[in-house]
């Protein structure tokens, strides 16, 4: 099952789920975390949930899932061209 799936897929998903569930556990362990812990006067949850987990993290992982196969394709094409004397 999932034979042929690139390793970075699992790394990307691991980072996403790992970070999300770590933050949820921290919120469970530190009751004040959602509202009481502040950065620049605003609850830190605006940073880690609202900006990082909601937007930047999925965007970054989606970009890597686009960019890494592109690089691999370019490398393969380059090697093939070299092999055929191109």
């Amino acid at each position: 099952m999932f034979k042929g799936m690139k390793s970075y897929f699992w790394w990307g998903m691991g980072i996403f789920y790992g970070l999300v569930f770590l933050l949820m556990i921290l919120e469970m362990k530190i009751p004040a975390m959602t509202y009481g812990v502040k950065i620049g006067g605003a609850p830190i949850s605006f940073l880690y949930t609202h900006v990082v987990a909601l937007y930047l993290l999925p965007l970054g992982i989606a970009y890597l899932f686009y960019w890494l196969p592109e690089q691999a394709d370019k490398k393969t094409k380059g090697q093939e061209a070299k092999k055929h004397g191109g």
């Binding site: 099952m1 999932f2 034979k3 042929g4 799936m5 690139k6 897929f9 990307g12 998903m13 996403f16 999300v20 949820m24 919120e27 469970m28 009751p31 959602t34 509202y35 502040k38 620049g40 006067g41 605003a42 609850p43 949850s45 605006f46 949930t49 609202h50 900006v51 987990a53 909601l54 937007y55 993290l57 999925p58 965007l59 992982i61 989606a62 970009y63 899932f65 686009y66 196969p69 592109e70 394709d73």
Partner: protein, 547 residues
Amino acid sequence: MAVNPIVIVMTIAYFAVIFTIGYVTRKASTNPMDYYLAGRKIGPVVNGAALAATFLSPASFLGLPAFIFLLGYPFWWAMVGIIGGMPLATMLTAAPLRKYAPISFTDYYCDRFEDQKWMRIITGIPVLMGTWAYVVLSLVGTGLFMMAILQVPFVWAVIIGALAVLFYVYLGGMVATTWSTAFQGALMAIASVACAIAVLLHYGGFGNLADAVFTSTPNFWLMPYASAEGAVSHPLFRSWTGVIGFFFVWHFGFATMPYSVVRFFTAMDVSSARKSVVWTIVFGGAMYWGLIIIGTAARHLIETLHPLMGQILNTADGPVTIANVTQVLTRIKGDFGVGGAAVTDYSMIAAIESLGNPWLLGLLVAGGLAIAMSTAAGWVVVGNVLLGRDWLGKVFGNKWAIENPIKSLRLMTVLILVVGTYYSFNPLALVLDLSGWAFVMIVATLGVPLVLGLWWPRATRAATYANIIVFFPLVLYSWLYARSVLGSPHWFFLSRVMYGDDRSKWISTPHQWYWVFVAFAFFIVVSLLTKPASAETIKQYCDDLHV
């Protein structure tokens, strides 16, 4: 309250753009491949914006801020789950399916599981249910926006929305749908972000907004077990099954739902399909960023600024002076409401109305119409191919449908929208809620065979049939039981059997989402017990698609 001319002008401008796109692109759809799939010529930015607008429905634009309004901060994680599910699709389904390059959603199941007739019928049934539920939901969303903000009578608002969708889907098929939906995707993101920035400016930043919310609703920021006294933001978030459940309930949909999957087929190539997902997050994530701010501020904004505060609400016990947010929303529902819609569905509109800025309201109505109409159109183009090409042409071999593919699809477009409009006129709450059932049901019945068909050579035809036959009624029964007997589709349907009437012990399982994981296990077991497809088929439709 009189409607501001600026709001009217902005709404007219929105419709003018949509009609223009439909008219200009009408000649681009002269051959069936253009009508089905926009000739597979759509670049990643346009496809990504269209994906965002199609996948995110009025349930997002109206429903998610309402959920935050009701359930508090923990629901932010549910929205993270929806956007976080998008990168999954890049490698799981978007790239392999674009390499395979089918025409309709059911094609893959027929080819992978070696059955061109019954597979098309059986897989089409959940798709058709989804089409019906989402077209009705979207048309009602269109009506709600036009009625609550523009005060257009609801029936006329639904008819205008349905005619606009009919105009561009009928004329331009997938070409017109894609371009208008991409415009709608950009518009809904701009509307949401602009309204959120206005809210932040009103409060003077994130910190002041958070403090105001804490003052009016101290429980807003609580997670399960977060306080020593055991207080929680809402009973549904009393346990972590609620938080994790809401995180996962819509998480896998983007990779497997028909209305998003067909947009992977319209991309120019595999690379473009992958990049489309990046742009979907750019637009969809931005919209969600804004919705979180609006949903968080809604209760405080309405209570402190809404013009209906202090006015009269007629109740069964006689007239009362409006003194809280529930009474404001009840009055709005009473004045402009629709039978099945919940009072909280108006919280997003009422929150922006409280700011008293006609430009924002105009943008909100345009953004709301955009997201509602784009989802309706997205499902119509799935449904018309299913009915006009797959069932009428391929299953029943209708000569007229085979020889006139575009006419056949146009006929089905009219049919779907007439039925959808009829059910939208006086929607029962059950009909509006059904989209939640349809979502989990489609992921459990069709999503599982799609993902495992692509990534597991051992996936079988028998398991696909078994999944659909077992989980279609099972998800419906458990969802209906929880909703009707336990009072909410978000309670685990066996809660009363397990814990009696003590609601404090009941388990929260939003929309019975756990069936998705049960369906995966069930599919694997049945596949291992039944005969796999031929080696040639597995190579062609599984191994060779791994890119």
